[in-house]
Subunit: 218 residues, 2 copies
């Protein structure tokens, strides 16, 4: 629809803005409680060994509360909370406004890595890109094996796919190989990573994948 087309156009302009600043932007998407924040916390621990905390910015979108940005602030990086009040996804104007409130260009010139966590939702956010260099979809084994085939569009627009909470797979009797092959069949170009934000499993591989992209962009 026109709203989606317009947001895509604005997302491309926001991406040009990031590129002009030499910062890399990652967007994390996925259902409520799939482990986005937990995963980002683990990745931020890695990022702070390669970057200064003041070079890292985390923006969280949630309908309500500052729970996620407060969790992330403990890692010493810049954190900002956007509350949508009811909307099921972030949109470019909200992110743009937030970046301007932070200080715009003079502030952002010091940022090397920006991580946006979108609203916990397996549908809406995937139709509204935010100009990120990579969109990381976080699904988890507790949601059930069928979530990729139930959400083909979401799976298809993602650049990287993470199957989180694999520490629970055996206990829950979930077939991870089936999940992996479902994801690959729907989106052959997106690498699929198994992870556990709880145990740290798979975090290094994901981090290296994000760093490879960062080196091209920053």
């Amino acid at each position: 629809k026109d709203v989606i087309k317009e947001n895509e156009r604005l997302a491309m302009k926001l991406r040009e803005f990031y590129d002009s600043l030499g910062l890399v932007a990652y967007e994390f998407l996925g259902g409520p409680g799939s482990g986005k924040t937990s995963l980002i916390e683990k990745l931020v621990e890695r990022f702070t060994s390669d970057f200064s905390p003041s070079e890292l910015l985390y923006i969280d979108g949630d309908v309500a509360t500052s729970i996620d940005s407060e969790r992330m602030s403990k890692h010493g990086i810049y954190t900002v909370q956007i509350n949508t009040g009811g909307s099921c996804h972030l949109e470019v104007p909200q992110v743009k406004k937030t970046l301007m409130k932070l200080g715009g260009r003079p502030f952002l010139e010091k940022i090397k890595v920006m991580i946006i966590e979108n609203v916990g939702n397996m549908i809406c956010p995937f139709s509204f890109p935010l100009g990120a260099h990579a969109r990381i979809m976080v699904a988890d084994v507790a949601e059930g094996e069928d979530k990729f085939i139930k959400h083909p569009l979401s799976t298809r627009v993602s650049d990287i796919i993470v199957i989180n909470k694999v520490d629970l797979a055996e206990y829950l009797g979930v077939n991870i190989d089936k999940m992996k092959s479902d994801a690959y069949e729907i989106n052959p170009r997106a690498p699929v990573y198994l992870a556990s934000a709880k145990t740290g499993y798979g975090i290094d591989e994901i981090y290296q994948s994000l760093m490879k992209l960062a080196e091209k962009v920053i």
Copy 2:
């Protein structure tokens, strides 16, 4: 917004239609994989001991696939699948059209209990009622403790709240009492049930609550 107001108006007309037919309608809502279908399967087993399977109708809304209606069809009741193609919630016109395709009034006169499972989403469906006599929100412990406070509107418009997958609570270190009190604080009028669709825990209490409502309506 106007779209929401209009859907509320249409939902009230649909409710009058259900009442004129003497059928009770329950709507299940909740995030992807919170256990809606699994819970409904357990409840349908109870319903088929008090009703004939041909008096029960299940309608599932999903972006894609017939997975849920196919699961439910094994229980011998009437099942219908609605695919939204991309929309994050069902709307009254879709349900109305589906009921007409099933045969409209002549078919529905034989139905006593209608169960609608909405699209797996913690946000959108809660703003678009479908005329049900009770809206049952299904959250689960694997999603994390903070989902009620993160979604106050969704929690507030629900008539019954189910905290599912309690069999995992100890393993995951989730504080169920905190979840229960969060839900109560946001919505004091909605009974909160702990359940495990896996072990059957809590199913009887939920069933009795639904039957109490059915006896008033049917």
